[in-house]
């Protein structure tokens, strides 16, 4: 029980620094709120330019539809050809829609004249261009369907899409909970990462080592306070997601805490390892940032895991953040229970055990040089 004294000391040190308390509990909340609203994959207010060279009623109707959609923001409507290239270069709009008169063909059976539509997209932001293209297909497709209905004609083929768990495809619902997982990672890895190095710098580590504390006791005393801080942090984050983002968890949050404990075991072991091998707080911070970025990029938060090339995909298997993000989304959106993700929890605990045993080995080898 000697480690409890170390626990208490760490706890006191954290709360004695006012800046630290602000950094730990206020900054993450602000970050969650900002990140939740900023890191969104859906495209809204896409600046669109319209070049209407057609005099048809239908082109006007389409323009009205575009104008009434919150997805697009019409920047200008021209009735003469413009230099599209230049408009994209200047960034005035990300998409140009061109309506032209259509040459009538003999086979056409419509009683009205349809314009010819061309969509030009600025691909320098590939992601939003792709999403915008999807919106345009949807919008024009829907328009064609209504036209056919108006003419009493059957639509030959139309897929019926039903979206489960997040029908409005609101990215706040997918990003919000995941950001809580990200915050948990950042706070806990940084705190443990610099923990032991600070003791090295102020020469108190020698005193710990000369005392009867065993490496396991030092590990527990150094990491458990950070785990407690992490769980408090996660609770605050969840409260933000529920109250401010208005995302109601469908599953049992108790499972999330269970998953978080397994996750913290792995992430704190890694943080402890960083602290052991670093010679200064600066070095430790560098290691922490590098690890966090790697974890973030390979977590499925920013890009789907399926997008990662197979050669690199194995790296995601040893990334604990990947599992936590999957679990947090399953609990919040799908309402899944333990039966769906117990393996993930075991993997995180397993990764934790490997990192923990490795850090003990490093401790015995490198701390006593």
């Amino acid at each position: 029980m000697r480690f409890l004294f170390l626990f208490r000391k760490e706890w006191r040190e954290i709360f004695r620094q006012k800046e630290m308390v602000a950094l730990l509990f206020i900054a993450p909340l602000i970050q969650t709120i900002i990140l939740g609203y900023v890191v969104r994959t859906d495209v809204t207010n896409l600046p669109v330019g319209i070049i209407n060279l057609s005099q048809s009623i239908e082109s006007q109707r389409l323009i009205n539809r575009l104008a009434s959609s919150p997805l697009f923001k019409i920047k200008f409507i021209a009735s003469k050809p413009v230099d599209a290239e230049e408009i994209f270069r200047q960034g005035k709009s990300k998409a140009l829609i061109i309506f032209r008169e259509r040459e009538k063909r003999a086979s056409e059976e419509f009683s009205f004249s349809l314009p010819e539509v061309q969509v030009l997209l600025d691909g320098s932001d590939a992601n939003s261009a792709m999403i915008a293209a999807g919106y345009f297909y949807g919008l024009f497709g829907h328009y064609i369907t209504t036209l056919l209905h108006r003419e009493d004609k059957d639509v030959p083929f139309q897929p019926k899409t039903i979206i489960r768990f997040n029908p409005s495809l609101n990215s706040l619902h997918t990003m919000g909970p995941a950001i809580v997982a990200l915050l948990l990672t950042i706070i806990t890895i940084l705190l443990t990462g610099i923990g032991l190095v600070r003791e090295k710098e102020q020469q108190t580590l020698d005193t710990l080592l000369v005392s009867k504390l065993t490496p396991i006791e030092i590990f527990l005393g150094k990491t458990l306070p950070m785990a407690a801080v992490g769980l408090i942090e996660m609770t605050l984050g969840i409260m933000v997601v529920i109250t401010i983002f208005d995302v109601t968890p469908r599953g049992n949050l108790a499972y999330l805490y269970l998953a978080a404990v397994a996750f913290l075991f792995s992430i704190l072991s890694i943080g402890f390892l960083i602290s052991l091998i670093s010679q200064s707080q600066q070095q430790a911070l560098f290691f922490c940032w590098f690890t966090m970025l790697l974890f973030l990029m390979l977590s499925g938060l920013l890009t789907p895991l399926e997008n990662i090339p197979p050669a690199l995909r194995w790296l995601t298997v040893i990334n604990p953040l990947r599992y936590l993000i999957a679990i947090i989304r399953e609990i919040f959106l799908k309402g899944n229970g333990l039966a769906y993700f117990w393996q993930d929890i075991l993997i995180m605990a397993g990764l934790g055990l490997v990192a923990f045993l490795f850090s003990l080995r490093v401790f015995r080898r490198f701390v006593i040089k």
């Binding site: 004294f5 006191r12 004695r16």
Partner: protein, 282 residues
Amino acid sequence: MISKFSLSRDYKKSTEATKISLAHQEKAKSQIASSSAIEVHELTRCFGSFVAVNRINFSIRSGEVVAFLGPNGAGKTTTIKMLTGLLRPTSGQAFILGFDVEKNLPQIKNFIGYMSQRFSLYPLLTAAENIEFFGGIVGLRRQKIKEKIEELAAIISSDYLNQPTQTLPPGIRQEVALFAALLHDPPIIFLDEPTSGVSPERRRHFWMKIYDLKCQGKTLLVSTHNLDEAEYADRIIIIHQGKIRFQGELASLYEQEKVTSLENFFKQMVSEPKNGSNNSSY
């Protein structure tokens, strides 16, 4: 140590440090056991190609106070770290009360107290909280820790007790750090440059404390680069460039090396042709 505190106050009244030293040596001689507390055989430590400590040998008897002298970078801290198990020797052996330091580290931790150069206390915690922590990690019971804190309050003023140690004057910090290092009542005490950065008055006061400890039968190895402190010790060991240059009583140094003062001996020693680029000063 604390019970003897009043005694040290009496010493403080005396102005002649050397007189006290001699009186104490006489008094302590009867107490010195013949067994050796610390034994060092051919102890060597290299950092890459740099030999920090080069095949040193010495032995310290139980109850002895030994000043470990040498310029900065001479190998004092490296030696003390090897004796406390904080560094592994490259070769050679060290024994504490007959236990091999490398093989019996857990047992040895019961016997040794260590105070590092920078009075390693937690700067954000108060003196009392530091004692609570250090007492806790050496396995003291809560009641005992409470008693120890009260004991410390009697030494430093109780105003200081509840101040973060970073705001305490260096002398008080040193006092608290020494108190913390002795919480588990170890028979052998290593003090690594305990008097650096404190006033000469404080230094003298500190050595009075060392005498108190000696009277309790404790063995002390005190490293320093302040030459005047050599006079307080029973014996001195001088290390330079990783090698022991002299060990014995101060008086015999003057005889053996034909020098009139320790300072002259040091001047002579550091002006010798250097091995490598060890740019030492004292």
